[in-house]
């Protein structure tokens, strides 16, 4: 992808996301969740979205707020059920949202496949379980493998620690989680970062997401959040 744009506001960063898009949303719980981009997406108004994320939102902020706003048709995730996932739970039980549960490793690997030009892959995860029902299987080296297909996003919304204006990214601790994989798997990758430093200030040996994967960058004020919620 050609050079990234550094934008002034999250509203500019999420401009153009169409109704019906598949949006990959980074984060594992709150760590790495792109809160500010999600808030802007709510303002932007795109609806009928398919969201791919590890969880289905916590509390009423971030992804949960997007769900609560009624913009999401379907969630693809590994772990929707959490102590504070009551927004999703309510929508699901009311039949207002679809759910596809994917084993966490398949979720990550299927997005990697989308980013890496792999058309499909065989993996033993889930073989013989209800999550593999209807999927093609094959015994390889005596072990049953399930054929899994890529998960590609129209957009990825990712949070990183630091960027340069080209889009080279570094993350912080376990907030790294799905960001680097999702950045490779979407047509348009949008990242919110706590800091934009000059080109050349990020050691090329430590770049986690190379600039080629990033389309739009927006700096956000660092937000205090706890494991219970943001702000």
């Amino acid at each position: 992808m050609s050079r990234a744009q550094v934008l002034e506001t999250c509203d500019e960063a999420v401009a153009g996301i169409e109704d019906g898009s598949t949006v990959l949303v980074g984060g594992f719980g709150f760590a790495g969740m792109p809160f500010d981009l999600l808030d802007a997406l709510i303002r932007q108004g795109a609806k009928d979205l398919t969201v791919v994320s590890n969880n289905a939102g916590n509390g009423e902020v971030g992804l949960a707020a997007l769900l609560k706003a009624g913009r999401v048709r379907k969630v693809v995730c590994s772990f929707p059920r959490q102590s504070d996932s009551y927004v999703f739970d309510g929508l699901y039980r009311a039949g207002k949202i679809e759910l596809e549960v994917v084993p966490q490793g398949n979720l990550a690997e299927r997005m990697r496949a989308a980013g890496a030009g792999i058309g499909a892959f065989f993996c033993p995860t889930g073989a013989g379980t209800t999550l593999a029902e209807g999927k093609e299987t094959r015994v390889i080296d005596g072990r049953t493998h399930v054929l899994e297909y890529p998960i590609k996003g129209d957009y990825a919304l990712v949070s990183a620690h630091r960027s340069d204006p080209m889009g080279n990214l570094v993350y912080r601790k376990t907030a790294r989680n799905f960001g680097p994989v999702m950045a490779t798997a979407a047509t348009t990758t949008i990242v919110q970062v706590g800091e934009v430093v000059a080109v050349g200030e990020i050691d090329p040996e430590t770049v986690v997401t190379p600039s080629i994967y990033i389309d739009r960058i927006v700096r956000v004020e660092s937000r205090h959040y706890t494991v219970q919620g943001a702000r």
């Binding site: 594992f28 966490q104 073989a127 013989g128 993350y171 376990t174 907030a175 989680n177 994989v181 494991v227």
Partner: protein, 228 residues
Amino acid sequence: MSTSTPATTAVVEHLDRGPLSTDELAAVIARDIPDGSYVNLGIGQPTRIADHLPAERGVVLHTENGMLNMGPAAVGDEIDPDLTNAGKVPVTELPGAAYFHHADSFAMMRGGHLDVCVLGAFQVSTDGDLANWHTGNPDDIPAVGGAMDLAIGAKEVLVMMTLFTKTGAPKLVPSCTYPLTGLRCVSRVYTDHATFDITPDGARLRETWGSTAADLAARLDGIVPPHG
């Protein structure tokens, strides 16, 4: 894995006491984890095993959200919302840690590089099937997380659970009735009443607490008859 297994197949019976507490069970499992191994402890009870793995044991903990050499739970000022375990509890980092992204983390799990994982379970079958992700109740929202990946990926999959439900039904069963997480993946089952090796012949009692092997075998189906 078997340094603590007696040379004979005799079952070790501890009849001078009752069943193990969760903490005692955690200590028993910790004892069986080889020094220096790379281990993933599942959400819930297995997390307690970490308390019984002192630093000199050299065991390195993996958390599937992207870290090796995870330290204990964070307290007070240590709490950093960017640093949590797979249960989203704030944790700490030990010297020699490494961070990586989710695809790399699951490649590590699925590629057979973890020596041991310890998982909770609703049921385990005597031939090693694991059911720990879904009650099968249609009202429950399914959530699998990394359980299916750990089940197929770790070199040794250990289960930590109570042997019986609150109503007294065995959780080690000839065939699981709950939806499966993985087939024939469990190698050892640790419970409050007894530990079991899953062998080609079925589940074989190793050690009991508060009951004789014979009494337990009588309450369970599909157990290899004890020869002790």
